[in-house]
């Protein structure tokens, strides 16, 4: 079962230099461990490459998860494929873990003709129904009550499916956070709320966001379990999420997981964090890098070497660059698609507007 939280408790498995507490190590298989490591590295390299791409003006915007990979991978790995994920915007990793192709991700960044979401949203706001990953939107927190509703619907349908929603520490201030957790408590919904407490909401630090001792303690207001875990410690995150999932699946209701981590880079490519946060804070957290820690753990287990590591980084980057070249050639969505999917069928007034756009374009050319 999910352990109860005192305000200060922080569940962990790995020490900062990757030594596992044997008593609590979930003992994932070597294949799983290596897979998860490769995914984290892939995600990291991708994020870094995309930021460069944005600086070169080849994409308009990017928002990544540097430093938060263990939180995302550890939690998503604890789910079953039929479980629904409601992401905020830093959880592309969860999609990759489920098999969402890099190519599809890049097409979404470009907003091109192959993008599953038809170039409708800004970068990183993907949607991947085949992987039960719900459409992302920018307004923070809106996904939380939706995740509760989907979980209730799955239970009503008798499906063995639960929901997991991600959100940031800042997002806990929104009304949607409150109503979601309250509904989850009342209906004992099979849902997991994962707060990536990365300490900052753009320029606002956690202590200006809330005066509560922790995020996890907020669970008490809803009669659900709250748990606080080291978010840079993949096995620990996996473990608490797996427990929460088992509980949800067996009718035990919702869990709020606070994963304590850190946003190592700027909020997005639009942000320069040096304006508002001290360099030494960042340096300190760089020492707790979740990928580094996990690598040390693998190395100590004897299943990974520095040579393999260098090779992995190299190959991953090369793959990304190759796929990137391919997708950059794909054209924009056709202008007429502007009017699709507003409704199931295009109603008369939209058909008329579509026609007027045609007419105007013909005039132009």
């Amino acid at each position: 079962m999910v352990p109860e939280v005192a305000a200060e408790d922080l569940i962990s498995v790995l020490s900062e230099n990757g030594i596992a507490d044997k008593a609590v190590d979930p003992n994932l298989s070597n294949a799983d461990l290596l897979n998860l490591y490769r995914l984290m590295v892939f995600n990291r390299v991708l994020d870094e490459r995309m930021v460069k791409l944005q600086r070169q003006g080849r994409i308009g915007f990017y928002i990544g998860s540097v430093g938060e990979e263990a939180t995302v991978m550890g939690s998503a790995f604890a789910l079953q494929p039929q479980d629904w994920i409601f992401p905020s915007y830093r959880e592309a990793g969860a999609a990759f873990l489920r098999g969402f192709p890099l190519r599809a991700f890049l097409c979404q960044l470009m907003g091109n003709r192959e993008d599953l979401t038809k170039g409708r949203q800004m970068p990183n706001h993907f949607s991947a129904r085949p992987y039960n990953i719900v459409s992302i939107s920018s307004p923070v927190g809106t996904q939380l009550p939706q995740a509760v509703g989907a979980a209730m619907a799955a239970r009503y349908r008798g499906d063995d499916s639960i929901s997991l929603a991600y959100f940031g520490d800042g997002t806990s201030s929104e009304g949607d956070f409150h109503v979601a957790l309250n509904f989850a408590g009342v209906y004992k919904a099979p849902v997991i709320f994962v707060c990536r407490n990365n300490q900052w909401a753009i320029s606002v630090p956690l202590n200006k966001q809330t005066a509560s001792a922790t995020i996890a303690i907020k669970a008490k207001a809803y009669g659900i379990d709250g748990v606080r875990v080291d978010g840079n410690d993949l096995p620990a995150v996996y473990q608490v999420t797996a427990a929460a999932a088992a509980k949800a699946r067996s009718g035990g209701g919702a869990t709020l997981i606070e994963a304590v981590t850190y946003r190592l880079s700027g909020h997005s490519t639009s942000d320069d964090p040096r304006v508002y946060r001290p360099e030494d804070e960042v340096a300190q957290w760089k020492g707790k890098d979740p990928i580094l820690r996990f690598r040390l753990y693998l190395e100590k287990k004897g299943i990974w070497t520095t040579d393999e590591d260098a090779e992995l980084f190299r190959r991953v980057d090369a793959d990304i660059v190759t796929t990137l070249k391919e997708v950059e050639a794909i054209p924009s969505p056709p202008a007429e698609s502007l009017f699709d999917d507003v409704y199931a069928q295009v109603p008369p007034h939209l058909a008329e507007q579509q026609a007027s756009l045609w007419a105007a374009q013909k005039e132009d050319h």
């Binding site: 979401t117 939706q146 509703g149 109503v179 979601a180 507003v342």
Partner: protein, 324 residues
């Protein structure tokens, strides 16, 4: 055919559809044990159980947010917002989420759901139990907006709305919930969305209205008839998408038009109707389209009879339009 009031007709529609389709669930404040403060959902919980007819916590954002999740997953939720005046805590979920899911996901996720909510004045409810806020939703691409004016349409439109694959704001004119009665077929039938109804043919002036204002409009038309003015009366029924053809055809015939609604004038739906006629019937217009609407004040209490359009105000507009 039984004679029902609007409440009974709506209740009947919910029963018909819940029996037919187990994806339909009802939720909202006081909708379960109590059967709704207006009794529209009465007896549903007894028949369908508390997992399908849910008394929710007091949170409109929570009601609509969770209903969206259910719709995404494949259910057909029919949440109730107790009064349209209280819908705003859910406004973000409605306009940024529910309305845009299909579009933003490239058609991968859809939100087939119906938000039922009583709206409008005339019940001495003041600011917060009288609002007509349809214009906010009409300006929101992705939504459909439906407003019935009688029991027959209420049932048939609600059934169509629940079966529609897009999200619908279904606004119920509470003022005539009990006052207006009519024959309503038992069992299943639908009234199509997007189709206005010509309630009365006429050749002098076209009157366009919906919801509770149909009563006042028909009264005004009757009075006008006494003065020899034959009005063509259109009940819009669906405001979005609008049945532009029916409206434009009628005005092309009469050359004159009065549009009526309770909502405040500035930026109300009457402006859109007027603008459409400007664009599509300009050369046929023999007089300016007139708006008879609520005033641009918050909805008052003691003076609501001044605020609300009534048959006299509509009649004046008909006269002026006809005499132009």
């Amino acid at each position: 055919m039984p004679t029902l009031n609007m409440i009974q007709a709506l209740n009947d529609a919910l029963k018909v559809e819940m029996r037919r389709d187990d994806r339909v669930v009802v939720m909202g404040e006081d909708v379960g044990v109590l059967g709704g403060v207006f009794r529209v959902t009465v007896d549903l919980q007894q028949e369908f159980g508390s997992e399908r007819v849910m008394d929710t916590p007091l949170s409109e954002g929570g009601i609509i947010g969770t209903a969206i999740g259910m719709a995404l997953y494949g259910l057909r939720p029919v949440p109730e917002i107790q009064f349209a005046d209280f819908i705003y805590p859910a406004f973000d979920q409605i306009v940024n989420e529910m309305a845009k899911y299909r579009y933003r996901s490239g058609g991968q996720y859809t939100c087939p759901m119906v938000i039922r909510t009583p709206y409008g004045g005339g019940i001495r409810g003041g600011h917060y139990h009288s609002q007509s806020n349809e214009a906010y939703f009409i300006h929101t691409p992705g939504l459909k907006v439906v407003i019935p004016s009688n029991p027959y349409d209420a049932k048939g439109l609600l059934l169509s709305s629940i079966r529609d694959d897009d999200p619908v704001i279904f606004m119920e004119p509470k003022r005539i919930y009990r006052a207006v009665k009519g024959e309503v077929p038992e069992g299943d039938y639908t009234v199509p969305l997007g189709a206005a109804k010509i309630v009365q043919e006429g050749r002098h002036v076209t009157l366009i209205a919906y919801g509770a204002m149909m009563q006042e409009t028909l009264q005004a038309a009757a009075k006008a008839a006494e003065e020899g003015l034959q009005c063509e009366v259109i009940d819009l029924r669906t405001l979005l998408p609008l049945d532009t053809d029916t409206v434009v055809q009628s005005v092309k015939k009469t050359g004159r038009c009065v549009v009526v609604h309770e909502a405040a004038r500035t930026g109300g739906f009457g402006a859109e109707v007027s603008a459409i006629l400007m664009e599509k019937a300009f050369l046929d217009l023999e007089a300016p389209v007139r708006r008879v609407t609520g005033f641009d004040t918050p909805f008052p209490y003691s003076l609501e009879h001044y605020y609300l359009p009534d048959a006299n105000r509509i009649l004046s507009a008909i006269r002026e339009t006809a005499a132009f």
